[in-house]
Symmetry: D2
Subunit: 341 residues, 4 copies
């Protein structure tokens, strides 16, 4: 069981690895890093090379046991930054573990196979780390997508890709990962997964899942953050919940009020954002799904990022787009990590 | 002095004029309309034909005395809608008047000439309407921009366009209009205007100005909303202020708290949004000014729209992008119209 | 049988109807117009209001018997313009007719029903006009798409939309229309249509089909251009063929050489463009299907427009994006109208 | 004097360095590389991290003497690829040399200082390499741009940035570099440079200049390609010229005809593309400068890329956007490298 703390730093570009020296100034070494979670400033979609660049730069500097999760897209007020989850000697109140699945073949992306492998990997990870399902605050996953080349490779073997649309493959992969999280956390039964996936609708969801797709990897990178039961309430705490829709200021204000009551200070917010698939929010039409100039995940990050950053007073928050299976449709999972005196 | 009330309706498209029949169901006729203020779903930039379409459809249905102000861009959760400002027989607490300048020649757009003509027009309008400067809550302006054709026309006459960048011409025109408002409201002296404009910086600003540019007109459409002193406090009220930056939730929460105390209900919010020109907000880098895929005004509307809609619980709010001279740099003017029992 | 001639004019904006007076200077009246075919300057995708604006402006000025076909997207060097197909008293060498289907319900868009109705309508049109299938040079169709609202309407009735992606609905509608054209021209048998549509692949295609989708209509607008057998070779002629891929300069150069040999002068080019669905052209990877900032139809119009305009020496050519069933996959149908002395 | 040959390879992504092993199969080592010239698949604008990623991956694999020039943007049919210019033992008909200026401070970017330093560097390079000015076929430069951070840094020192618009800074830097090339090649006199730059118009131009800006470097990377006088006509040859406008198929067809006559085979095309700054081409309006969704350099690359790739039958051509000072306004410099038996 690894007690962890979280350090957050702004970056000057996706290639900026200067936070490493700041981490060292705090007395930690790269080998202490359990996970590196970053927001990079690309489009957050298929051809977001800011993620690949960050992965290139960082992965050579971290131990193989650490995972990276780079989520593209700092639309609106959001600010590019990275967070280190670092192993500490003393208990902090939070524990974490990281791992990854095997590489997936293109035809497996977005399928039940991906869900199952994600579930199995998480289950092993948390058993090894001595974490109970119910103590998990957040499972963060970076998962693959399908490029044109992948799609042709699938077809070349006589198979049918789960979608021929590269952007949609991101959603399918996120959803398969989210179903995997829900399975691993015991929130749904294995029988439900295939039906959920075949419906292509996010009817099954977990409020502790946060998944992001990218072309920079073939496997799934997984990070689990949980409450440290052994450590009492601890200095570091996490609250999990979900936004009912992209305008749900109430849940955020309520959480912030609770945190204030505990004399807490927000360290980081992990939130998912998506355009309501029905095309309307609270009965009013939105135009995120008919805007052919800007993909809906970009719109959603900008809007939810504006709300969260405004309420928390911090623009280096982790707002990730595309909430399939990660919170209710049109809403998104929400996890606030905070520190008490 | 025209007492006014405000009716707000969602629209199914920029060409949707069905709200007119709803207005009639309320007992009003098109001839009662002082101004029609809409958010249309285009990109809000140079080639936003959703504004032109709305203007085409609506201007034939309204009296010549009414002005239209269509602001493009419903990024994120924002919802396309229109607001009628309608003349009422009985006092409501708010008064309004509308008017327009002469058509500007392309070489005048964004210049001191525009500022001066806007100032003169507003001054006449409010004198005629019996409105005192200090009672003005909001001056809303729709102003022209420069297309490639306009720029060539300027050059053909041997003159130098204020900018050769069509997108930047929108900012220059908004700023010239805002300076005009500040002049008319007595917030700055005439001597300051040329310097302010030549600096190309929004060092001079009015928190009661809201300006939006478009290719759909050659003159400036102007709407003034003010407190009706004669009518006591009235059923309808307006609060003016400004967001210090695009993350300023405090001013909104404070205003909403005040309104709640008056047992008020928000009717409409008029707010300006822009990317901080320094490239950072509260010391953290934003990427709105280095994103070559999405113009900064679109980012800003999405983010501020997310914040305002989330806090007010309404996505049919008027969030307009590009705040030059309309609130402090990086922030924006803010006006909330509300109704008390 | 209506002999027709073609007049082509640049436009200053989608709302520019000044070509009507130029048509009158040529001695024609609006009632002579069989079809108005325009390229407008929007994104050519779901939220292209330049098309809707043009339709609004023009449809009130033309007789009900005339159809409009506005294709959005003048990427690259392409220039916004309109072409009138006008009825002439004397034979010209070309004949044309126009018509439209009934309005389609949202759940019919992109389905066999649309194909069948298009086929039936074209069949009736050409029989009435005395046109033989084999004399048809080009069938131009404007067809509907699915907005978020349409998709919700379909779901509200318990049905499944052909796609939940508004941009993809454009492709499905174009393909259904193209299959309808192939059926009407006897190029495929009715039995093939459902299989072709269900495969969602453009395995069946007609080199005389050119289809474009839009939110501005609910039915299909159809224009048929054909050789006038009765009129001998005529002053006006048309050549039909297809580009094998988006780089196929050979077919264009060959046609232009043939036309030169006939002492002909190009009047207009109608060509379809698309990103090769395999993600590569002539064995080299293209990035049109992985670019999440610009939709592939925009890329394809720009590239093919650059080639065609460059070779013909005219940027007011009709290059339309999305070639499903309209020429071979990755290529597109091609029709050059030219005039001989 | 370094005789060179050119090897060209497609790449699977900006991070794909597999061409290095192909180069080795040809019998060359990384130390033989004089310059690596690539087209990467980002937006080619300010936030194009595909260039930075490629630079990161490649610069560690090449000797310090080699320069990299990554030009972003493979719009339309263009295909991502890299070209090695490699030193050969035997003369080939072409020689090349590479070098770079010192790093520029942000306030120097786009100024006469940049022009002068570029000119001086080139002059030294070609003298050292024994190349005569008149034998130069192409000077390729990668030069810096201004980010928001750079602009603030300039302001912090009380200076005024050459522009506050990050995208426009790319044009200013390209133009300053092009003026430097023209100076070095003796095409203009030193007295002309400041005036040309201050006019901000591309009135001075060189048909042998090709400049591209990026955030991935602070200095200018320079590659000069020239005719080897000592080697007779040689197997490798280069033709320099320019497109009069973005539709100039004639110059390309003429060059291709000449090459055919020499029994030559095109190896690579280097061409610059830009939206005509007047807003029209051959008297017809284009919309590249009023499209607020896609920057004009992207449009121009797609269109000229479509024309060049179509005519040459090869989509791995080097088409770079933004032709300020690199060919006539609206056109662009053109250099075809070809091989004869």
């Amino acid at each position: 069981m690894a007690a962890v703390t979280l350090f957050k730093y702004p970056v000057a570009s996706p290639a900026d690895s200067s936070p490493l020296s700041k981490l060292q100034e705090e007395g930690y070494s790269p080998t202490d890093v359990v996970a590196l979670i970053g927001k990079t400033e690309g489009n957050g979609c298929v051809n977001d090379f800011s993620r690949t660049l960050a992965a290139h730069v960082w992965e050579s500097k971290l131990p193989p046991s650490a995972v990276t999760v780079f989520s593209g897209g700092t639309e609106g007020v959001l600010s590019p930054h990275i967070s280190f989850l670092v192993r500490t000697k003393e208990s902090t109140g939070l524990v974490a573990c990281s791992g990854h699945t095997r590489d997936f073949a293109p035809h497996e992306v977005g399928t039940e196979t991906q869900s199952r492998d994600v579930a199995t990997t998480i289950s092993k990870m948390i058993i090894n780390a001595g974490i109970e399902k119910e103590d998990v605050s957040l499972v963060l996953i970076k998962c693959p997508l399908l490029t044109s080349t992948d799609i042709e490779q699938i077809r070349a073997t006589g198979q049918t890709p789960i979608t021929a649309d590269t952007y949609e493959s991101m959603a399918r992969s996120r959803y398969a990962s989210a179903i995997g999280i829900a399975l691993a956390l015991g929130e749904i039964q294995a029988e439900v997964a295939p039906a959920a996936l075949s419906l292509k609708e996010n009817t099954v969801w977990s409020s502790r899942a946060s998944c992001s797709s990218g072309a920079e990897l073939k496997n799934c990178h997984i990070m689990v953050l949980a409450r440290d039961k052994s450590g009492g309430k601890g200095r570091l705490r996490a609250k999990s919940g979900y936004m009912e829709d992209a305008m749900d200021s109430k849940v955020i204000l309520d959480m912030l009020a609770d945190i204030k009551e505990e004399n807490g200070k927000v360290v980081q917010v992990f939130v998912k954002a998506e355009a309501d698939p029905t095309g309307s929010i609270r009965g009013k039409r939105h135009t995120m799904n008919t805007d052919s100039d800007i993909h809906s995940t970009r719109h959603a990050r900008a809007a939810v990022g504006g709300l969260v950053a405004g309420l928390v007073g911090d623009s280096t928050v982790y707002v990730s787009g595309g909430g399939e299976g990660q919170g209710p449709p049109g809403g998104g999972s929400l996890c606030i990590v905070y520190e008490c005196e």
